[in-house]
Symmetry: C2
Subunit: 248 residues, 2 copies
């Protein structure tokens, strides 16, 4: 789906670079700047530095004079605002809104054809007249005592939530986790360990108290793999060997 990020009257070059980087990490590349403070913002040193390799997003970005020019191809506009207005589109948390747009209850026809996320200037936020054009107003749930999200950080969060709503990226493949050894293997290791604990005079077989049941519970929680059982048996074996050598 066409997904566009629109920054309106952005004043900090670093935020434009940070926005490009945030978008690219979530697989988005359609950036439009409406009347930015610096005409050359896409080529400024700070922008390129903070973009940190997201140069294609900067290269594809468009600069336009008015919001109208940024809206081709999108049919669902999301304002972003920290403070709700007394009039305008309904205020929603991003996850809730995206679940409604794209979740199980949505249909082909109810989903947007193209979506745009609008971000106001660092100093003044969005103008009312721009908010009024939108279908919803996204508000990221922040601490009521400190809602001051950095612009690029807000872009990062919205891009993340939207990407997850679109299905998300898979994590890179990892080595499969080792399944836990079965209870028989664990019991065998514990018996081996018990012998070793007796041999090193830690466990008194005549007054064992609850040592072995305690260790059994501990190892149940740890759920050791076959390989780890092997290591633990090796430790038991070495303890037995050391104890035997000490008594020679």
């Amino acid at each position: 789906m066409l997904t566009r990020f629109i920054l309106i009257q952005t004043s900090h070059a670093g935020n434009v670079g940070g926005t490009a980087r945030a978008m690219k990490t979530m697989g988005f590349d359609d950036l439009v700047l409406v009347a930015p403070r610096w005409a050359n913002v896409l080529r400024r040193e700070e922008t390129i530095q903070r973009a940190s390799g997201a140069n294609d997003v900067l290269a594809n970005a468009r600069i336009v004079e008015t919001l109208d020019e940024a809206l081709d191809g999108v049919d669902h506009l999301c304002a972003t605002a920290m403070t709700p207005r007394d009039f305008g589109p309904p205020t929603r948390a991003p996850r809730e809104h995206f679940a409604q747009l794209m979740g199980a209850a949505s249909t082909e026809a109810s989903r947007p054809g193209g979506i745009a996320f609008l971000f106001g200037s660092e100093r003044f936020g969005m103008r009312n007249e721009d908010v009024y054009r939108c279908h919803s107003c996204l508000s990221i749930p922040t601490d009521p005592k400190f809602g001051s999200l950095n612009l690029a950080a807000a872009v990062q969060l919205i891009a993340y939530d939207w990407r997850e709503a679109l299905g998300g990226f898979a994590l890179p493949a990892t080595t499969p986790e080792k399944p836990p050894a079965d209870a028989k293997a664990l019991a065998g290791m514990l018996a081996h360990l018990e012998q070793a604990l007796v041999a090193v005079d830690f466990l008194d077989p005549d007054a064992p108290k609850k040592l072995m049941p305690r260790l059994n519970q501990l190892f149940n929680r740890a759920a050791p793999s076959e390989e780890e059982i092997h290591i633990l048996r090796g430790v038991a074996k070495a303890m037995l060997r050391a104890a035997a050598a000490a008594k020679r």
Copy 2:
């Protein structure tokens, strides 16, 4: 729950400030820096600038020499890494892991008493020996072609997901949305509008085609409130008045 963010060998002051700001927006304030590049990093100009008011987080932050000194009070350690390792704790997406820790299936006893999120240096990420101490390794699902998250952006995403898992912040109260007017009010408005459309010679009553059913469908989707019905009736009234004046 005690929630700590631990930055290990961080080299950019801006990221320390950005981290403080990101934490504070999500209501967290426990920051520890392990062997940062700059000993005075908490007082550097760039740090304070990027913290943008999260000065209390910087003021409370501790600087320590080793990871050990950063771990008091936490019993669940989450590494963060972009690239999974062939050995070490299981790699998990943050939302999935947090749902497991705190979700419906978790119990009082299975929940951590204190949690720490560890972030490696900007240039090298986390050292294997630090990852191996952790209970899980969080990997934020990013575009496989560009996983380069800024450090403060990664902190922002983890802080957001963790805050949501803890129950989240409420959105600030907004003016309640107006409920849609009932079908009778909509039908009355449409009848009024129909008269007006005839009066201005847009609708031919002898060949109405499907104009009114189309408008009915459009207004059903828009679900106007009582107040909006009132506005639309005002428009119809003005159209009728103008048409009458034109025929005088």
